[in-house]
């Protein structure tokens, strides 16, 4: 919390090395592997951003698709008049504004209202966008032509993921992060020590939403032709929730653990059994609730605690391996 500790430096060094390594991917592969890489990086960014808010507050947001779509449409609508970089900013601001509105309407009340509201949000905006397009523009979609390659998009998403991490880390060591931990523990106490709980939650929801909006904006060039159905696809929201919960939301890097297995599983399912994706999503939700309530990272931590308690002095490298084996 105060100053850079030694192990924080170590983590930062590992993080930088990982980013450097990952940024090499487009140089050594293309086609399917790169496209998978873009997908993984997209969800890495979105799920980490989702967990920034939903992790500490334990409020399940199902609004990711709405922010994603708003980001996508920001690019599609503004491509003729503004440079791409500026559009990313527009996407961030409009998603944050949407998050602010939703938060102001629901976050002052019980958590259930927020969940329900977020559940239909993407569909609501899809309907409005589809209606206004057919009403005022007399067409179904918008073309997005850019000279950005998959490679560029991958690098942008990698940069975005890194940015989410840095921001998340900064929040964790700030007053805002401390306030969130207190709110997550006991909201009544939080208010009595002087925390404006609703405003804190709204601010964080806006930050989280802005990042998801940017992710949507970066994805826009992949579609070439943008329709409301694709941009506001509710499946995005559900996958984000599953991945983040699968990885675990107690640590900043928790959601990352869920990205690789689930995205690869979904790629496999959608290519081999396209009609089974709903069933898979359903089973995934049930499995998380009943088998992995704290995600994979939560499970690992519990195992580590148990082993530490048994073998009191220090963690040797062999116990670390045991953890890995038990989790596998």
């Amino acid at each position: 919390m105060m100053g850079l500790h030694r192990n924080e430096m170590v983590v930062a060094a590992f993080g930088l090395a990982a980013v450097a390594l990952l940024s090499l991917l487009p140089l050594v592969s293309e086609g399917f592997a790169l496209s998978l890489g873009v997908n993984l990086m997209l969800y890495a960014a979105m799920c980490t951003a989702w967990a920034l808010f939903s992790g500490p507050t334990r409020l399940v947001s199902l609004a990711s698709a709405a922010f994603f779509g708003v980001g996508t449409y920001s690019v599609a609508l503004g491509l003729d008049s503004l440079p791409f970089g500026a559009l990313l900013l527009v996407a961030a601001l409009s998603s944050a504004a949407l998050a602010g509105l939703v938060g102001a309407a629901t976050l002052r009340l019980s958590g259930v209202y927020f969940v329900i509201f977020s559940l239909g949000l993407a569909e609501l905006i899809r309907q409005i966008v589809a209606w206004s397009q057919s009403r005022f523009a007399h067409k179904m979609g918008l073309y997005v032509f850019t000279d950005l390659t998959e490679r560029d998009l991958y690098w942008m998403l990698l940069a975005l993921t890194s940015l989410v991490f840095v921001v998340g880390w900064l929040i964790n060591r700030s007053r805002l992060g401390f306030a969130l931990r207190i709110i997550g523990d006991d909201e009544t106490v939080a208010r009595h020590v002087g925390i404006a709980t609703a405003r804190t939650k709204i601010i964080l929801f806006m930050i989280s939403g802005a990042f998801i909006g940017i992710a949507g904006a970066i994805s826009a060039p992949r579609y070439a032709y943008i329709e409301p159905q694709a941009a506001f696809n509710p499946m995005i929201s559900f996958q984000v929730v599953i991945i983040a919960l699968l990885g675990g939301t107690r640590r900043l890097w928790g959601p990352l653990v869920g990205v690789v297995p689930f995205i690869i599983l979904m790629e496999f399912i959608t290519s081999r059994f396209p009609n089974h994706s709903s069933v898979v999503v359903g089973v995934a939700f049930l499995a998380i609730v009943y088998l992995l309530p704290d995600g994979v990272t939560g499970l690992l931590e519990r195992l580590r605690d148990r082993i530490l308690r048994r073998a009191e002095p220090g963690v040797s490298s062999t116990t670390r391996n045991e953890i890995g084996e038990k989790a596998a």
Partner: protein, 243 residues
């Protein structure tokens, strides 16, 4: 005589048809330590909740140092300088003792952060008798120690007014003695305190003045010894037959 710190005038709180606090008025001067007493269900805790902003009054007004605080959201009341402990102790279970205390220092009046908040919290933990326990997880602490952490958290806000909701309840005789001395020391430093309490020995030793409530109404207000001898107060506690 010192200035009035808090003034409650005609405060009323109704839950549906039940009137928990019925047009109660009283004042507390700066530096006073008063006892808010009365039998169970007399509306003491509701009164405390009105002062701390946990509840808004149905009607009436509460002022802190001349500024109206009734109707403000809880966090604004806290920032205005009112801190409290809870009848059933409320610590932040996922955190360590020192983090719990820091929670009080970071957001309220003095808004400390970083090493200063940390040092201040450590000092307060020592103050309540938890020196060296900074990094213990509060969830593993005993009930008494959790109460101490809670008191340190309230003090960390450097409040103008400290509300203690049965903070001495559940202590054994030797702990009670320590607790009483601690509360007295805090008051002697000039901190104004309102304490809701059932432990009559503590009331007698600590409080110069008592406000007595029964069925939502204030039935007595005056020097502790006089109030506790008042036939109305005795009747309220013991029932009509024994009076």
């Amino acid at each position: 005589m010192s200035a009035t710190l808090i003034s409650v005038s005609q405060a009323r709180k109704a839950f549906g048809g039940l009137i928990a606090v019925n047009d109660v008025s009283f004042e507390v001067r700066e530096g006073e330590l008063i006892g808010l007493i009365g039998p169970n269900g007399s509306g003491k805790t509701t009164m405390l909740n009105l002062i701390s902003g946990a509840l808004g009054p149905t009607s009436g007004e509460i002022k802190l140092a001349g500024c109206r605080i009734s109707g403000l959201p809880t966090e604004m009341v806290a920032r205005a300088g009112i801190a409290r402990t809870f009848q059933l102790v409320r610590v932040l279970p996922s955190m360590t003792a020192i983090e719990n205390v820091m929670a009080g220092a970071v957001f309220a009046r003095n808004r400390l952060w970083g090493p200063r908040a940390h040092d201040f919290a450590r000092e307060l933990l020592g103050r309540v008798g938890l020196m060296g326990r900074e990094n213990s997880p509060v969830s593993a602490m005993t009930y008494i120690d959790q109460k101490r952490v809670e008191l340190a958290r309230a003090l960390a806000a450097d409040p103008q007014l400290l509300l203690l909701d049965e903070w001495l309840a559940g202590l054994n005789p030797s702990e009670l003695l320590i607790g009483i001395n601690l509360v007295r020391d805090i008051n002697r430093e000039g901190r104004t305190i309102i304490m809701v309490e059932h432990v009559m020995d503590a009331i007698r030793t600590l409080c110069g003045r008592c406000v007595v409530m029964n069925s939502g109404v204030k039935i007595a207000d005056g020097a502790a010894a006089a109030v506790l001898a008042d036939p109305d107060v005795i009747r309220a506690y013991l029932g009509d037959d024994d009076a």
